[in-house]
């Protein structure tokens, strides 16, 4: 059993609110994608979950326990947060030996994880000479050292080449299929759409959506793209009528859950000139962008 629960979590740095009343859960045996634009508060949330940042309000628990209260946390939760949490002059193997020593783990775990992430040959090299992809794999090796049941990965696909991304996808999939819990963050939905079971989407430190990936895809819905010189006026008129609309260009907007008939009426109401109206069907990526963007604009 390993369920991650975030409840009413908030963090303020001075006047800046990084995370605001966030609640969501990540289930065991599933890969949960934690999505949002850069600066949405993903890293801060993960760091609060791991006891590295103190929440202003709320709680973040793993199986009901705060990370800091876990007995030997390194054996139950593995985390990869930065791509450069290494002393550049230290050999990769020595980095892992230090972690294994501090966590009181058997020395053979070092060789086991080096093998698992395919870094056996580079183990004796100093981290300074590592590519970003190799650093990511060394970070993952560090996370796996304690043979954890929970994996928390912050932007794990950053810097990986396509082969690396595929390898990571399979790795994470297998980990969850064996009953593990995975929470991984990304600012690009496409990067994780093939990997995750559930998604949690945040923007400006607030929850925008939590659902299974399948349900999110089902939200795919009709909308209309409108081209008009009075784009701002039309946008305001649509919002006033309760139609979700978003500016997409200097002379274009997109209205969701709408029909050309409704839009035509709204445009006539303010005397707007319409150059073009195109009914469209929005895909997963557009839904994601729309969810995170409207939240950002309504701050």
């Amino acid at each position: 059993m390993a369920t991650i629960e975030i409840h009413g979590l908030s963090k303020r740095f001075g006047d800046v609110s990084a995370v605001n009343g966030l609640s969501f859960t990540a289930q065991e045996g599933a890969v949960t994608g934690f999505l949002g634009p850069n600066g949405a508060g993903k890293s801060t949330t993960l760091r609060m979950l791991l006891g590295l940042v103190t929440p202003t309000e709320g709680s973040a628990t793993i199986d009901g326990n705060r990370y800091a209260d876990l007995h030997q946390p390194f054996r139950s939760v593995g985390a990869m947060l930065e791509t450069d949490a290494f002393h550049p002059g230290r050999r990769a193997r020595d980095h892992l030996r230090i972690l294994a020593t501090a966590a009181d783990l058997p020395a053979n775990r070092v060789d086991a994880v080096l093998e698992e992430v395919d870094l056996v040959d580079a183990g004796h090299r100093r981290v300074k000479g590592f590519s970003l992809g190799m650093r990511q794999r060394l970070g993952l090796a560090s996370a796996l050292l304690g043979d954890p049941r929970v994996l928390i990965l912050d932007e794990p696909a950053n810097g990986l080449d396509p082969d690396g991304v595929r390898w990571l996808r399979q790795f994470v999939r297998t980990f969850a299929d064996r009953g593990g819990t995975v929470l991984l963050s990304s600012h690009v939905l496409a990067e994780v759409a093939q990997t995750v079971d559930d998604v949690v989407i945040i923007a400006d430190g607030r929850l925008v959506a939590q659902s299974s990936l399948a349900d999110l895809a089902n939200r795919s819905r009709p909308g209309v793209r409108v081209r008009t010189p009075q784009v701002t006026a039309l946008h305001d008129a649509l919002i006033k009528r309760g139609i979700r609309a978003q500016l997409v260009a200097d002379d274009a907007l997109v209205a969701l859950d709408s029909t050309p008939e409704t839009l035509g009426l709204a445009a006539a109401g303010i005397g707007a000139v319409i150059y073009e109206m195109t009914p469209e069907h929005f895909n997963l990526e557009e839904i994601y962008l729309e969810l995170t963007a409207t939240q950002g604009a309504s701050r």
Binding site: F13, S43, T44, R47, L50, G51, L52, V53, T54, Y67, A68, L70, P73, F74, V77, A79, L81, E82, D84, A85, F86, H87, P88, G89, R90, R91, D94, H95, R97, I98, L99, T101, A102, A103, D104, S142
Partner: protein, 247 residues
């Protein structure tokens, strides 16, 4: 706690920077001996007790480097982001700092022992060649060597505390170098009654360095004062580190 101390010592041994620090601490020993025997000090010639103590004070000559080494043990973890895995393994940061302090003290004693052995190996035959035979069990030798064990070990701990207070390693090192070599040096030179109560003044008293007439504290008082500074720095550094948000 034992595995945390082992991990701290392993962190040190696996970087080249550490060995450079060790080398620089050891190199200070012969330099200090050369200066005290050849250049000397008119007030305390080698025939006097103070003169001999001055020669054997070489055992603690790496004290400033030991402080800087201590800074790299704490602030260095923020410089390289290794504080993140360190705190993930041990969420109770007071235990992390306690392990650093204990590992630093062990390291300081080892460095002082190496420095002391080198001092004896270089100074004794040289003094003999000058017709001065030193009794290695006399207070003039034992006192500076005992002082070196204490002051070098405390210097590493002091550095760990400073690195816990100033998390930017470069700034921490700059502050300590400016403080000891400019501010403390000026205070000791112009206001010795203040200077002798400062960390470097206390460390000098322990190590047996000569200074201006009537300048330094007695050995036991210096030991208490230096221990007080180190304990305060380590406690304040630990307090600040436990409250730090690792963003």
């Amino acid at each position: 706690m034992r595995h945390l101390i082992n991990a701290e010592l392993l962190k040190l041994r696996t970087t080249r920077a550490f060995w450079a620090y060790v080398a620089s601490i050891v190199v200070f020993v012969p330099i200090s001996i050369v200066l005290s025997i050849t250049v000397g000090n008119d007030q305390n010639p080698l025939t006097t007790s103070e003169g001999i103590r001055g020669v054997f004070s070489a055992a603690s000559s790496g004290g400033l480097m030991a402080v800087l080494l201590g800074i790299t043990m704490s602030a260095g973890e923020f410089r390289n982001n290794t504080a993140t895995p360190t705190f993930l393994i041990t969420p109770d940061r007071r235990r992390v700092m306690a392990a650093k302090v204990l590992a630093g003290a062990i390291l300081g004693v080892v460095l002082a022992v190496v420095s002391a052995m080198l001092t004896v190996a270089v100074a004794t035959p040289w003094l003999h060649a000058r017709g001065i035979d030193v009794d290695l069990l006399s207070a003039d030798v034992i006192s500076p060597i005992a002082g070196a064990l204490l002051s070098v070990a405390l210097s590493v701990v002091f550095g760990i505390g400073i690195g816990g207070l100033i998390h930017n390693q470069t700034i921490a090192i700059t502050v300590i170098v400016v403080w000891t070599s400019i501010i403390e040096a000026l205070l000791t030179g112009f206001v010795p009654e203040v200077g002798r109560w400062l960390p470097t003044g206390a460390a000098s008293a322990l190590g047996g360095t000569w200074t201006i007439e009537g300048g330094l504290l007695p050995f036991w008082a210096a030991a208490l004062v230096l221990t007080g500074y180190c304990a305060s720095a380590a406690a304040a550094g630990t307090h600040l580190i436990t409250r730090k948000d690792m963003t």
